[in-house]
């Protein structure tokens, strides 16, 4: 039985896996049909016919993860690291009978490489599905407060 604490624990665990670069364990949190989405427009509704920064299925996320460790991935020499500072997630929906689980989490994300350190602020919206007894990510949506700013490289995951 999934409860609100299970959702919150999941979100903290996800951030920890990213911060400790346990990429494979992070990919395992996704449902096979899961998506990772970073919109580019205000209150964006459509990831396909509106422009996005990212809209990736599991295949594309695997490509990213595998690339990070590649021998000829020059933009990861030196490697990037990241840090998530999360506010307590707000449970938007937790309805085991309907199988609907949603949460929204405000956060500050830091990505660093070499001597550079970049900070981003935004909200992560999670939608989960229950597989067996476990939650899996159906959609992780990342809305940056300054989604329309001209960023430099964002190489890891928020």
């Amino acid at each position: 039985m999934i409860d609100e604490k299970a959702i919150t624990d999941f979100i903290y665990l996800e951030a920890e896996l990213l911060d400790t670069m346990q990429w494979q364990a992070w990919l395992d949190l996704f449902h096979p049909e899961g998506r990772y989405w970073m919109p580019l427009e205000w209150q964006q509704r459509d990831p396909v016919l509106q422009p996005s920064l990212m809209y990736e299925d599991l295949l594309l996320l695997k490509v990213r993860v595998e690339r990070l460790a590649g021998e000829r991935t020059f933009s990861q020499k030196p490697k990037s690291r990241c840090h998530h500072l999360l506010q307590a997630p707000r449970i938007v929906a937790c309805d085991p009978t309907a199988g609907v689980y949603k949460a929204r989490t405000s956060y500050i994300y830091t990505e660093t490489r070499g001597d550079l350190l970049e900070r981003y602020s935004g909200w992560a919206s999670h939608e989960f599905v229950e597989v067996g007894d476990a939650l899996k990510i159906k959609l992780k949506r990342v809305d940056l407060v300054n989604f329309d700013a001209p960023f430099g490289n964002i190489q890891l995951f928020m």
Binding site: L40, V48, P51, Y55, L59, L60, V63, R67, G70, F74
Partner: protein, 446 residues
């Protein structure tokens, strides 16, 4: 100390037959001279008419260092102005786009202007009576950019009063824009999406050169496109259909021979394109219903002519690149000698299936976004070049691949696709438009 200002010979000496001096990328004085000479002497992309759909719509842009403003007037005409109030110089419009209604109003003293730029009203107008205000430039309203050409809805402007005409400047190279527009069954493009913006800590010319550099994809993008191909081969299982994503990434890994045979076409004034006979855009899946629409609109032969043109990257010198086959325009906007804002725009083919628009948007975020792994590969190389060029070990950048002595300048030619001739072509134009008005000014000062 200033080395290059008003010294056309010193600037011309930076560009040799097949080498350029590192100062073109790293010297702040050269950058300032580009802003003062190269950009005003060239025809610069301002925006697309579809961004100015109705009267009062406006967009803002910069040409070199100078802020400009384009607006749609009540009679449907489009005007380009310098974005400054004639009173105290305050910028009239501060947003990238919007609708100003019937007039622009300066936020400082409420001077107001019609959307054709003419002065509409000044508060306390009586205070100007008998002051000779009527004879001042301020009385004319917003200063107009006089040289504006709207070519198939693409708005270009040249700030210099004299220089090369639009037709002579672009010539045959406009065929790439033609092809992109013709890909719409209605012959019309529309900007509907926010551009993807990406800040590059490198000189703007590194980006422009990279558009026709065909010897880097299989090397620099092994990490991104190469990994995508590898993961797909492993994970595809029984799937017979290659996903759109893999179709977009895969061709970047084409071998040297592919690019050699694809060819490059050069044109006068620094324009040129890769992908003459073939390109990385050649083998995308057909989109259901699209070819039928095109045949209905243009006839069998013409439709296939249009769709058979698969040009890869067309450089419009100095600072845009157009990718007709996926309806993208990249604008390389110089900010500082080592800082460039890249705006990547997608045009929707009016009347064409949504799937084509989806593919163009996907291509843009896969390749041109700050979250793009392909983009990461490229930017890493530019940043390393910007650092490496500080080395005094060798102050020249080598552009000798497939160089032939006494190459003709300002000609049209089709050449081997791995040649660096298009880069040499660009630097010839760079030298020409940098120094074009310089000699005259020295004479005037004497």
């Amino acid at each position: 100390m200033a080395k290059y200002g008003q010294n056309a010979d010193a600037i011309a000496a930076l560009v040799r037959e097949a080498e350029v001096h590192r100062d073109v990328y790293v010297d702040p004085e050269i950058f300032e001279l580009e802003m003062e000479h190269l950009f005003p002497n060239s025809w610069i992309y301002v925006g697309h008419a579809s961004q100015l759909g109705k009267p009062g719509d406006f967009i803002t842009a910069n040409i070199g260092r100078q802020p400009v403003l384009a607006s749609r007037h009540a009679d449907g005409s489009i005007h380009v102005f310098y974005n400054r109030c004639p009173h105290k110089g305050v910028k009239i419009a501060s947003e990238p786009c919007g609708n100003t209604g019937k007039f622009f109003r300066c936020p400082y003293h409420a001077w107001s202007f019609k959307t054709d730029g003419s002065l509409l009203a000044i508060p306390l107008k009586k205070g100007y009576e008998g002051t000779g205000f009527g004879d001042t430039q301020a009385n004319e309203g917003l200063s107009k950019v006089r040289n504006v050409v709207i070519y198939r809805d693409f708005i270009f402007a040249r700030l210099s009063d004299d220089g090369v005409s639009f037709e002579d400047y672009f010539g045959e190279s406009l065929s790439t824009i033609d092809n992109m527009v013709d890909r719409s069954p209605e012959g019309k493009l529309a900007v509907q999406a926010t551009p993807i913006r990406y800040m590059h800590t490198c000189n703007w010319k590194m980006l422009v050169e990279n558009q026709t550099d065909t010897c880097h994809p299989m090397v620099a993008h092994e990490s991104s496109a190469g990994t995508a191909v590898k993961v797909w081969k492993r994970e595809q299982g029984d799937s017979t259909e290659t996903p759109m994503a893999v179709q977009l990434y895969g061709p970047f890994m084409s071998p040297y021979e592919f690019y050699e045979q694809s060819g490059i076409r050069i044109w006068p004034n620094g324009h040129g394109h890769t992908g003459v006979a073939n390109s990385i855009h050649s083998n995308y899946s057909d989109i259901e219903g699209y070819v039928g629409q095109m045949v209905a609109a243009y006839g069998e032969q013409r439709a296939h002519e249009i769709l058979g043109e698969v040009r890869h990257n067309t450089v419009y010198f100095p600072n845009i690149m157009v990718k007709g086959a996926v309806q993208i325009l990249r604008n390389f906007i110089p900010i500082a000698v080592d800082k460039t804002l890249v705006e990547s725009w997608v045009y929707r083919l009016v009347g064409a299936p949504d799937k084509l628009y989806e593919r163009a948007l996907m291509y843009n975020r896969f390749i041109n976004a700050p979250t793009s792994i392909v983009g990461h590969d490229d930017l890493e190389m530019y940043e390393r070049a910007q650092e490496g060029l500080k080395s005094n070990g060798n102050q020249w950048v080598n552009l000798r691949r497939l160089y032939e002595s006494h190459e003709e300048q300002d000609v049209t030619a089709v050449i081997n696709g791995t040649s660096e001739r298009q880069m040499r072509n660009q630097f010839h134009a760079w030298s020409k438009f940098m120094t074009m008005n310089m000699d005259k000014r020295v004479e005037a000062a004497e």
